[in-house]
């Protein structure tokens, strides 16, 4: 059924493309991605609140709509009607620009994520590189938001964000290089295609390529949590220490956009993990390969992120840095060397 559906989409797409090729495609996909991110950011808030409630043995939002399903919309309306206060003495331009600069890279990066065989806004050869290029803008924007707030808590938070992201970018990139070496491409679609077949063809389980593959996934996952400033690495927000960190001075939709960007980044991180390790849209049991499996894997990862947040306390800042520099970087370097050695030594004989 899925194949027929994707066949239909492909046919439909060819029909549209024949009418007016590139510009229409761009507009359609950009609109699609924005809607996807917007809806997800709103409804992941609902998932987070409901999930948190379940972990804490309480019902969570129930009043607005069935099971509180309209709660995110009510929240958004509330935030939109609130004044965006720009405190006296702040750098007003940067203060206003920061939330947008946080949101934009997440949107841009999702453009190269292949949701299915055909459902990808841009299928470019250096998709992986592009995501990481935009990922660093995200850090800068958060730092700008903290710095331009003219608030001591926000500045401390901005300093934490920068050192945390620098520390975790390195093991993450080392892991990604490993994956690029294993798959031989930076094109995300090709990476997924290389994992076709039953689930032991996923990169996560390819222990014959690199016996440390599950560890590599774990490193990637931890780094993803740290990069998105999620618990237990939410040093930047740290509400019991820094009030709300870089977001302390933001009100109304300024805060709302930061909030949505957090979920957009989680979505991006989990999508990337799905593509790199969990075989993207590939079905583990051979049926319905396509967007359904992609979303299933994606939301499983997103749920695990929520799960971790409501289970663990926050780490201490030096614990976080120690973990990165003393454990994650050496281990990811080791996996990199191991997989390159295995590629050179074993693969030629196996082939």
């Amino acid at each position: 059924m899925m194949q027929s559906l994707s066949g239909f989409i492909a046919g439909f797409w060819q029909f549209i493309a024949s009418l007016w090729p590139e510009p229409l495609r761009l507009v359609l996909f950009l609109g699609g991605i924005m809607a996807f991110v917007g809806l997800n950011a709103a409804y992941l808030v609902w998932v987070e609140r409901k999930g948190a409630a379940r972990f804490q043995r309480r019902p969570g939002p129930t009043e607005v709509g069935y099971a509180g399903l309209l709660q995110p919309i009510a929240d958004a309306v509330k935030l939109l009607t609130k004044q965006l206060i720009v405190p006296a003495g702040v750098d007003a331009t940067l203060f206003r620009a920061a939330p947008l600069m946080v949101m934009a890279p997440a949107l841009m990066s999702l453009a190269v994520i292949p949701f299915s065989d055909v459902l990808s806004a841009r299928n470019i050869n250096v998709g992986l590189l592009m995501i990481f290029a935009f990922g660093s803008i995200n850090v800068m924007a958060l730092m700008l938001g903290g710095w331009s707030s003219r608030n001591k808590y926000a500045i401390i938070s901005a300093a934490r964000i920068v050192s945390q992201n620098v520390a975790y970018e390195i093991p993450m990139l080392l892991v990604v290089i490993t994956m690029v070496m294993v798959t031989g491409t930076m094109n995300l679609s090709d990476i997924v295609k290389a994992q076709a077949g039953p689930f032991w063809h996923w990169n996560l389980f390819k222990v014959w390529v690199n016996p440390l593959m599950p560890v590599t996934f774990l490193i990637f996952y931890i780094c993803m949590l740290a990069e998105t400033n999620r618990a237990p690495f939410d040093m930047a927000e740290a509400e019991s220490e820094l009030v709300a960190g870089a977001y302390t001075e933001y009100s109304g939709m300024g805060f709302g956009v930061f909030f949505m960007a957090e979920y957009a980044n989680i979505l991006l991180g989990c999508s990337l993990a799905t593509v790199l390790f969990l075989g993207g849209w590939q079905s583990p049991i051979g049926i319905w390969s396509g967007v359904v499996w992609f979303l299933l894997k994606l939301y499983f990862l997103v749920f695990s992120v929520v799960w971790i947040r409501w289970t663990f306390p926050r780490t201490q800042f030096y614990g976080l840095l120690n973990l990165s520099w003393k454990i994650l970087i050496p281990v990811s370097l080791f996996t990199l060397i191991l997989s390159s050695a295995m590629l050179k030594l074993i693969k030629p004989f196996a082939a």
Partner: protein
């Protein structure tokens, strides 16, 4: 083994006077100060050069109020000082008046006082547990703690009529007796709470992130405790087995078999473990008291309606959830006291914060502050 913050460099960490500092105003509205405490922190980066608590934001001059009303009128005030352990606080005031007026308290009343005080101690420690985890960034335990605390509040509400600021003790006994449903409910609670504490242990105490946050953080030596007069779980977490219930036994405590949990570490973890273990001991006391609960009246005969204490000064100390709470009444043989002094544990416990937090990182200092279990109205009175 403790992790050293060796990636952060600063003048304070290097043992030099800081070249450049800034003042961070923590509070009076700040999520970690649990109320209206303000700490003026001189910081060198994230290192604390000097943390100076500024108190008095919810000062109510309870001691002056004590000089303006009769003993019975002042009694409800004592439960508003530390609202989380109201039972023990009223116990101290009631005890001081009984000591001065030589009112004998029936044994049944003393037993029920012990039961309710220990229930109150557990509920206070549960609030602390949840709030402390909140300080460390773990939100979920708070809801679990409040779930269990709710059971205690329901039990106490049924017999006292209040959920937080109990005024159950009277000069000479209690305002009313407990019924069978309270005894049954308390037994059920004890049976319910034991496995819960085991679960908390697995859920939180053995969590690696949690342990790393606390072990070796905020060491307080025995000497520092003594010099600052810190009591309660703070001094017991520094290896001193000081507990008013044992050193100066009052009420029916000498009749029960319980231990004074003491941990020698002196760090935040030791203070945490002391409180967790204290809940177990409180359950033991409650169980024994229920088993041995004598029959009889709960109110002494012929307690005068208007009390006039003989001239002189009278002290009474109890072990509240946060440490030693002492009341000193100076009487001049009138209906109203000449002077009421309330010695609260949180004040002494917080006073060592300035010395203990020197050179610490901000999050560690907040973990230390959380482990002191501060109730701000208890400091400000």
């Amino acid at each position: 083994m403790t992790e050293k913050a060796d990636f952060l460099t600063g003048d304070v960490a290097a043992g030099q006077p800081p070249r450049e500092t800034f003042v961070l105003n923590l509070g009076p509205q700040h999520p970690a100060t649990h109320g209206v405490l303000r700490v003026k922190m001189t910081m060198d980066g994230e290192y604390i050069v000097r943390a100076e608590p500024v108190c008095g934001y919810i000062h109510r001059m309870q001691e002056k109020m004590g000089e303006n009303r009769t003993y019975a009128q002042f009694l409800p005030n004592t439960s508003r000082i530390d609202y989380l352990s109201a039972m023990t606080y009223t116990h101290a005031f009631v005890g001081a008046v009984e000591r001065a007026a030589k009112i004998p308290v029936p044994p049944r009343a003393e037993y029920i006082r012990v039961i309710t005080s220990e229930l109150n101690r557990i509920s206070s420690h549960l609030v602390w547990w949840g709030a402390f985890l909140l300080d460390l960034g773990g939100f979920t335990p708070l809801l679990y703690a409040f779930d269990d605390r709710e059971k205690i509040l329901d039990l106490l509400e049924a017999i006292t009529g209040a959920r937080l600021t109990y005024c159950y003790y009277r000069f000479g006994g209690l305002c009313n007796d407990v019924d069978d449903s309270f005894i049954k409910g308390t037994r059920e609670f004890v049976a319910h709470m034991r496995p819960r504490l085991k679960m908390y242990r697995g859920l939180v105490t053995e969590n690696i992130i949690f342990r790393k946050r606390l072990e070796g953080i905020g060491p307080i030596s025995q000497e520092m405790c003594r010099k600052y007069g810190a009591t309660g779980p703070v001094i017991r977490g520094s290896g001193v087995s000081y507990d008013v219930r044992r050193v100066e036994p009052y009420s029916a405590y000498p009749e029960f078999d319980f231990e004074i949990p003491t941990f020698p570490g002196g760090d935040s973890m030791a203070r945490y473990l002391v409180r967790m273990e204290e809940m177990v001991q409180s359950l033991r006391i409650i169980e024994q008291a229920l088993d041995k609960l004598p029959a009889g009246p709960v109110m002494a005969d012929k307690v005068p309606r208007v009390l006039k204490l003989p001239a002189g000064d009278y002290c009474y100390a109890v072990e509240a959830a946060r440490g030693r709470f002492a009341v000193r009444i100076v009487s001049d043989n009138k209906e109203i006291p000449y002077r009421v002094k309330l010695r609260t544990p949180s004040l002494s416990n917080l006073s060592l914060f300035e010395e203990a937090s020197k050179g610490m990182l901000l999050p560690d200092a907040l973990a230390l502050m959380g482990s002191l279990d501060l109730v701000i109205p208890d400091i400000d009175r």
